[in-house]
Amino acid sequence: MHTRGLPLKKLGLVIGDWRDLERLFKYLKDSGYRIIGPKVDGNVIKLKELKSLREFPKQISDHQAPGYYRLEEGDFFRNGDDSPKKYLFPPKMEIFKVNRDLSISFREIEKVKIAFFGIKSCDTASITIMDKVLGERGDSFYKHFRKELFIVTENCIKPGENCFCSSMGTGPRVQSGFDISFTRIDGKILFEAGSERGVKILEKLKLPHANAKLKKKFIEVLEKAAEKAKANFEKRFLAEKLELAIESPIWKELAEKCLGCGNCTMVCPTCFCFDIYDEVFLDEYSKRVRYWDSCFTYKHAEVAGGHFRPELWARYRQWLLHKFSYWKRQFDMLGCVGCGRCITWCPVGIDIRKAVEKVLKWVDENVR
């Protein structure tokens, strides 16, 4: 049951239309939020600052398949290549400056007040994961960017080809970690609050409660969506089972086509590896710069005089087992939200769902 969580939060579902969504947008904007939401940028829908809700690609659809992404006219879009991670954990950022005498000039970054508007439920779940992985473990920058975050999530009524949030338990209906959610149903917008703040704001909109018929429709639509966003495996015991293949020869086969480009880790909303290097300016000061790294790069596991994962198949195993197995023991959750980005943006179309299936099959056939 992926609509677990019903009966609905405090306020229950309230009903409005596009103009009410605009009112919500305006309310947040007037409250000083910088609104970040989906917007067409070239040939991709990206998360960008929205000045008005008119920029929201309401009548655009994306067609996604392994290694494939195209925009077309339509009525519902999924995620693009970037994710909330970009704002909470920037791809490249100065940590501080070190002066020639080794004194440190720390940075002052103004208070950031971001509202994500219309991110999907998989991405909402990715923020909960980052809270644990980066926030709780003491990344001061993450905490700074995260602090005032407001999250408006759009429930996914039409998951795409590469989506499997339902199998990962993160969608298509948002369950937690959001302030307000909205769902496009029959030309109407159904709103729901996920936090006290959300309740207060929805109350201000003074919208009527949805009746039983509409609620039933809501459940039906999202149940259907949940059926669609499934992979051929269950989350239960997934971590434990996959690890049984740790010494399997299957990794070589799985990584055969892999280019080691690291696209998958860059587009993944939860991959958090980074490195820090020095950028020297005229020998006067040096910037300590943090940038995203990937377990697919050659140097990721290299040490002076040795290498822990010299071949690509070992790095592919690290990526997959980290997301689906180790993560569980590290953070008591899985590192994949089923957003499908790594499938869409892999230049050779490697499908992580298929990879997981193959590993499970290997375990079934070989471990006894």
């Binding site: 501080f96 010494e247 040795g306 690290q318």
Partner: protein
């Protein structure tokens, strides 16, 4: 403050001792570190314009710490240029430590391979200071050639510690070498150990640790009383950057020291 987790303290180099042609020990005076330094921990050292490297602590003083550096990478090679009174950045100490306090009254077996003897040295120092609290102290140390042996000037001191043994070996000898030839594991079978009451601390290249542990187990030492210290690429030292992982563990936080039974299921898996 933003970025506080990466703040380093300024360390002043007080003494540099050349150990071999490519290894030197830097004695650094530094104050205000995160806390008391324990045997087995490491610091992250910063050189202006170069960057950071994790280096284990090879000697613990009240305000002075020694770091033994092998010049093999871009940044470690910059260490060659350092001279006394130069300043470098130091943050730490990081990681867990050899659980030496929990093994009082036991015989201590130390096995080091190559530069791996460096993070083990503070145990020797510790046992020496609290001599009556521990049983026998046995040190096995192997290097590639006699020229690669570090801490040579201290061997006499190690031998002088009451109830201690120091056994050296090299993979390849030279004209002057009269000691044992062979990998460090060749020193294990002849040892007379009080199996019931011995704890082993091992550090060196992975392959060396792998066979050492095997031989120790063969000799009867339980896996729960064998500790190894792992090397991984470490960039942040605080469990954030993801580089140092082995299976579910972050070596910089959950390690570098692991009781063998705990890491066993991953250690030895090829290219994990």
């Amino acid at each position: 403050m933003l970025g506080k987790e990466y703040e380093f303290k300024i360390g002043i180099i007080k003494k540099i001792r050349e150990e071999t042609y490519n290894v030197s020990t830097f004695h650094i005076e530094v104050e205000g570190l995160n806390g008391e330094v324990k045997p087995g921990q490491f610091n992250i050292l910063y050189l202006f314009g170069g960057g950071e490297v994790p280096i284990s602590i090879s000697e613990i003083g009240r305000r002075r710490l020694a770091h033994t550096v092998r010049f093999t990478g871009t940044i470690t090679n910059m260490f060659r240029e350092l001279t006394v009174n130069d300043k470098i950045g130091v943050r730490g100490p990081y990681g867990n430590h050899w659980p030496i306090e929990e093994h009082q009254n036991e015989d201590i077996l130390i096995i080091g391979g190559g530069i791996g003897i460096a993070p083990l040295k503070p145990i020797i120092q510790y046992v020496k200071e609290k001599r009556s609290k521990y049983g026998k102290l046995i040190i096995l140390y192997g290097a590639r050639t006699p020229k690669d042996l570090i801490f040579k000037s201290e061997f006499e001191e190690f031998r002088k510690i009451r109830d201690s043994e120091l056994h050296l070996t090299v993979d390849r000898g030279d004209e002057k070498w009269k000691g044992n030839i062979g990998v460090v594991t060749t020193l294990i079978p002849p040892l007379k150990l009080n199996i019931e009451n011995t704890v082993a601390f091992v550090c060196g290249p992975e392959i060396m640790m792998y066979y050492t542990v095997k031989d120790l187990v063969k000799k009867g030492i339980p896996e729960t009383k064998i500790y190894i210290s792992l090397e991984r690429r470490m960039r942040c030292g605080i469990g954030l950057c993801g580089h140092c992982q082995i299976g579910p563990y972050f070596v910089c936080k959950d390690g570098p020291v692991f009781p063998y039974w705990k890491i066993k299921e991953y250690f030895g898996v090829k290219w994990i």
